[in-house]
Symmetry: C2
Subunit: 340 residues, 2 copies
């Protein structure tokens, strides 16, 4: 059932039927009702390919997925996706993932924009002066950045959490508890979020005349194993920290294992605070010692970004507003006063 048939059946022109269906004003309300009714009754759905060709609108949002044998997609991604999908569903938006060589995403961005394959894109895990953001900005497709870049010479719309504030608070708490030697087990410090977190910790330390020792900060891919290794290195060192801030729950698993392997305890020998993106399958309160966390649902962020993308597509949102969400600090059993 296509427009032509429907129009013929109603003894109307395609123009009128199309307009009635798309809510244009120049059509009699009763006619519109008739059309709507017939469309529903016959299950008419406009062919998206045709509509795309005519309008350029696709009803899809895009994401360039970096791939490659040595590239691991972050497990955070799936939670983010849950949120995004949740919103997208209610608006009949689909998401298209365009796999790209991790070292050459530019080609793919250019392709999806040139081909008008999607109405908008989002960018995640931005780095300082992120080239993708610059590219997408000049290409002129609506977009939202999940996270922030820094050092770009233009503004852009983003939704981020207050990573600096979160880790500042976490560090401040530890300092108040008497800790003097903090360590930070961070994610890849080429990404802005990690830079912000380190900044937060440093700022809290500086406020008390303390520093983050050079060997007390490390930046690695967020796996259990890396958490373990980093912790061993920190604690077997000459000047071990009494408190650790950690950028992910998954790494925290490794931290806990390392502490135990060394015959130490949490929080007796070392306090621990980790960032929690709120995975349904791994919860900080269920660690052997319930974990204190800085908490922010990445799923909610996904939904919010879908919402903003939809708004930009339909022209409801414009400009370059960045929004920064506060992060909860949730204190549980894994922090205590510094050992004597």
């Amino acid at each position: 059932m296509n427009l032509k048939q429907l129009a013929h059946m109603l003894a109307l022109s395609q123009t009128t039927v199309s307009r009635a269906l798309n809510g244009y004003p120049e059509v009699n309300e009763e006619t519109r009702r008739r059309v709507m009714d017939a469309a529903k009754r016959h299950g008419y759905r406009p062919n998206p390919s045709a509509r795309r060709l005519a309008t350029g609108k696709t009803g899809m949002i895009g994401y360039v997925l970096p791939t490659g044998a040595s590239v691991d997609i972050d497990p955070h991604f799936v939670e983010f996706l849950s949120g995004l999908g949740d919103y997208a569903r209610s608006h009949e938006l689909d998401l298209v993932l365009s796999p790209a060589d991790a070292d050459d995403q530019e080609t793919t961005y250019r392709r999806i924009v040139a081909n008008r394959q999607v109405d908008a894109v989002y960018i995640s895990s931005p780095t300082p002066a992120d080239r993708r953001v610059a590219l997408v900005n000049t290409l002129g497709i609506p977009f939202i950045v999940h996270g922030r870049s820094e050092g770009l010479d233009f503004d852009y719309p983003f939704t981020d959490i207050d990573n600096e504030g979160a880790f500042h608070e976490a560090a401040r708490l530890l300092i108040q508890l008497g800790h003097r030697r903090l360590a930070l087990i961070n994610g890849d410090d080429r990404e802005t979020f990690a830079i912000h977190r380190e900044r937060g910790v440093r700022r809290a330390l500086a406020a008390s005349g303390l520093e983050l020792g050079e060997r007390h900060v490390c930046s690695v891919a967020m796996t259990e194993e890396n958490g373990y290794r980093a912790t061993r290195r920190l604690l077997e060192d000459g000047d071990p920290p009494t408190a650790i801030a950690c950028s992910s729950l998954i790494m925290a698993l490794g931290v806990v294992r390392a502490v135990r392997d060394l015959g130490l305890s949490i929080p007796g020998d070392v306090s621990l605070i980790a960032h929690d993106d709120v995975f349904p399958w791994l919860r900080p309160e269920n660690f052997s010692v319930p974990l204190s966390t800085t908490r922010s649902s990445i799923r909610l962020a996904g939904a919010r970004i879908a919402e903003r993308l939809a708004a930009r597509i339909s022209g409801l949102e414009e400009g370059a507003r960045g929004e920064v969400w506060p992060v909860d600090l949730v204190v549980r059993g894994s922090v205590a006063g510094a050992p004597a």
Copy 2:
């Protein structure tokens, strides 16, 4: 730069240019070369929307993503995606995720097929007599099932791993080590994979005249917390098992925590084997006691399914061949002889 312009520039008809580009035989080889060359030089890329409208081919594969506030997308999904993306990239295939109400996926399947939004779809986590498989089969769109359904009255193409064989082997090993009371902490037993795993364990037990006690099998969502709870329940029971088979590494984290909380040890008091889908961020050899696993890379499965989908789209693969991959049993420190 569109076809018309390119044709005009070459003083050829659109027909000829189109045919030259798409490899049709009725065009002189030298002409073809000229066209190809000019196309490349001017960066001509056919507009996909137009091509879609004319041919019905989209260059995309589809996946219906169940969403909803209470629906968690499996973290396995992201690993699968890595593999899929890896292959798709090299073939300029995009993946479109269509979010759907988890309780009504049928509407979405019908929509993407009726609208010809994708060239093929894949289905994951099938259940026995899976309605999605039946639906997609009658709708007549090319598809591959990741996993298997059972009890359908037609054949269909799938790629699955030998879940029954894997858990049969695992259980057999435990039995050989003298264990008599095995327990199975399984995934949701509405899904075929879980059913197959249970079947494998039961078959191994039966071969030695043993049984899987009713209270020694549980089927839950694969979270850390559920692994913990199940283990506590099992071990605090009157008739505790001496060995546990577990359907996921994430649950195994909970198992390990529970065993420790009870003051017991692995493998001294209880042996443990878990299934490992090969996540880069959580590896069985890095558990406090290195974990024995049944191992199968879900990422490889993703790549394989992309490959088969591509083959079906281009007509290279037909029929309903199902393939079943063997699973490795990797023995590490978490298994030992049954306690006296």
